[in-house]
Assembly symmetry: C2
Homo-oligomer: 351 residues x 2
């Protein structure tokens, strides 16, 4: 496999590394002046339909920051749009669904994804990137609960009341909806891997809105279905959501080699919850980066101390905030590389 | 003390109870038709300046639901307005501060609270209520981080970037700000107790936005200052924030007899984190109530099983959502009372 010995893939597999690898969720996009110069403020959906442009946007943070992995510039709702859901991604607000799902009849609007046809632009972008990149490319998809919440609520929500009501009043419909979304995610991720991605991340960003009982009953089976369908591909599977401190063990059990952790849970606590044999990704508070480099560096050192050198992919605990100064992120990459390389001669077991 | 043998105060103290007591955060207000009939959609600040009206609104859910405690109808920003901060509470949005705090000079705008003068309407409301109520009255105040976030951000925020930047770049200013807010909270709560409230709740609603390290360093000392100032009053102190699963032990250590838990953390896990000698309050997902009574009842039974009969005050994991059907809440109160009374002859240790 490509990049088999890269520090990023080795860390995902819990193998000894020469330094802790680092990348940032949402490293491409609005926080970069070169991105804004290229694109302006239009919908992300237009950009991802142009492979040369999407590839260039994906490469921008790799060049600028020297991160250890690239992540495809796309959006979790792209496969939904591709199967015919009428939606837009409104800058500053998020995905907006023209006709929200309300009943079992809406399930028919979610036909299976045929990646070669439905995602041809995205797969072309992957192919272009694989030729250019000197680091692994992470493919990604939206997790079933998060996509279901957009379809049911019609857009971003604070309380998830419609989604939770559907879940509890029509559990069979909800289950069928999440199964279709799991299959769409799995098909999209498998196609990205076939095109050259060497790791995948399933973003179930809002799963942390659920109680542990609801997550275990209504979401975990679908996540397991999506991640399980990728097991034979042999690429690391990363699984992440915000505010999922109570779900970390279940998210690992769903079939992830790497569990993403937001900034609320210290990584040493997270490691106890997730158990042995899985790596962690995270978890600097993205808001700290807006306070300047000194506080961010201090917090990053704490994250490194709590995360340990092995089985740790350094990242933020959520996406880069648009107002982030890229200089801070560049300096953080250097810090992570330098400070974890210093102890590279220690045995990997020392953590 | 008034209501010394009430089931609510006994549960707060971990004493044996005849049934698990129940009340709901935001039980008074927008979800009740009798409230909307009385008030319409104006700012809550106008209502709390009218003691007869505020007392009536406080009583409405006690009459309708038969809850085991009343909570004063007010808002956490009332003491800020009382010391002269120009603010409004905008329906559907939340508190909006006319001139957000940006530097140490703004601290002068937070003079000490003189409750007898500054909160005379609120204290009159408490006095009116104590004459009427057959259950304990909970006084409340906003926690230092949450109030600081409104002052610094100028209103509700998703990312708390300005607040966290001030915290990390001007820690002395931030510390002084939280100290003043802690003193305002303590003065307000002590005055409510003097007027007849028999328990207090410190709502640091948004403290869960912080990493454990930031909470311990920047917020815990102020919470300890506020709660510590009330220790000699002998009333149960409840401390709550949303998404505080990683902070529950610290919030107990801050000086709370009762730690409020949102719906994300199963109460048996929460009890392990908080440790012995403290009661728990929570933690039904408020969104479940919008799915109807059957799912809410099923989840409530799980909460009761996880919470145990002793040292548990049944509540939602956050405030009642405005679209909640009051019939569902009424039925939940009956369920909690009936199902926990059945086993009332069991020894209290059985949990």
């Amino acid at each position: 496999m490509l990049f088999e010995d890269s520090v990023f893939l080795r860390a995902c597999r819990g193998q000894p590394v020469t330094h802790v690898p680092v990348w940032f969720m949402r490293q491409a996009g609005r926080s970069l002046p070169e991105y804004r110069a290229l694109r302006g403020e239009g919908s992300i959906l237009e950009a991802v339909r142009q492979p040369e442009l999407a590839a260039e946007i994906t490469l921008q943070p790799v060049r600028r920051y020297g991160v250890d992995a690239a992540i495809l510039f796309s959006d979790i709702v792209v496969p939904l749009a591709a199967v015919g859901i009428d939606l837009d991604v409104v800058p500053g607000r998020g995905p907006v669904i023209a006709e929200p799902f309300t009943s079992a009849a809406d399930l028919e609007r979610l036909r299976p994804l045929e990646p070669e046809e439905d995602l041809s632009a995205l797969l072309t972008t992957v192919a272009l990137l694989v030729r250019e990149l000197a680091v692994p490319l992470i493919g990604f998809a939206g997790g079933p609960f998060t996509l279901a919440s957009y379809l049911v609520e019609g857009g971003p929500t604070r309380d998830f009341t419609r989604t939770k009501a559907l879940m509890h009043t029509e559990p069979a419909t909800f289950h069928a909806l999440l199964e279709r979304l799991a299959d769409i995610a799995a098909a999209s991720l498998a196609a990205q891997v076939a095109a050259g991605a060497t790791a995948v991340q399933l973003f179930d960003s809002w799963a942390g809105a659920l109680s542990r009982a609801d997550y275990a009953r209504f979401v975990l089976p679908a996540s397991r279905r999506a991640l399980g369908a990728l097991a034979h591909l042999g690429v690391p599977r990363i699984h992440f959501g915000v505010g999922t401190g109570e779900l970390l063990d279940l998210m690992g059990d769903a079939g992830a080699e790497v569990v993403g952790v937001d900034w609320r849970v210290p990584l040493d606590s997270a490691r106890r919850r997730v158990g042995p044999g899985r790596a962690l990704q995270g978890n600097l508070d993205p808001a700290i980066c807006l306070a300047g480099f000194a506080p961010a560096a201090s917090e990053a050192r704490r994250v490194l101390a709590e995360g340990g050198r092995t089985g740790h992919v350094f990242n933020l605990g959520h996406g880069v905030l648009p107002a982030t100064d890229p200089e801070v992120l560049a300096a953080l990459v250097a810090l992570v590389h330098e400070e974890t390389a210093e102890t590279a001669t220690q045995p990997a077991e020392t953590r």
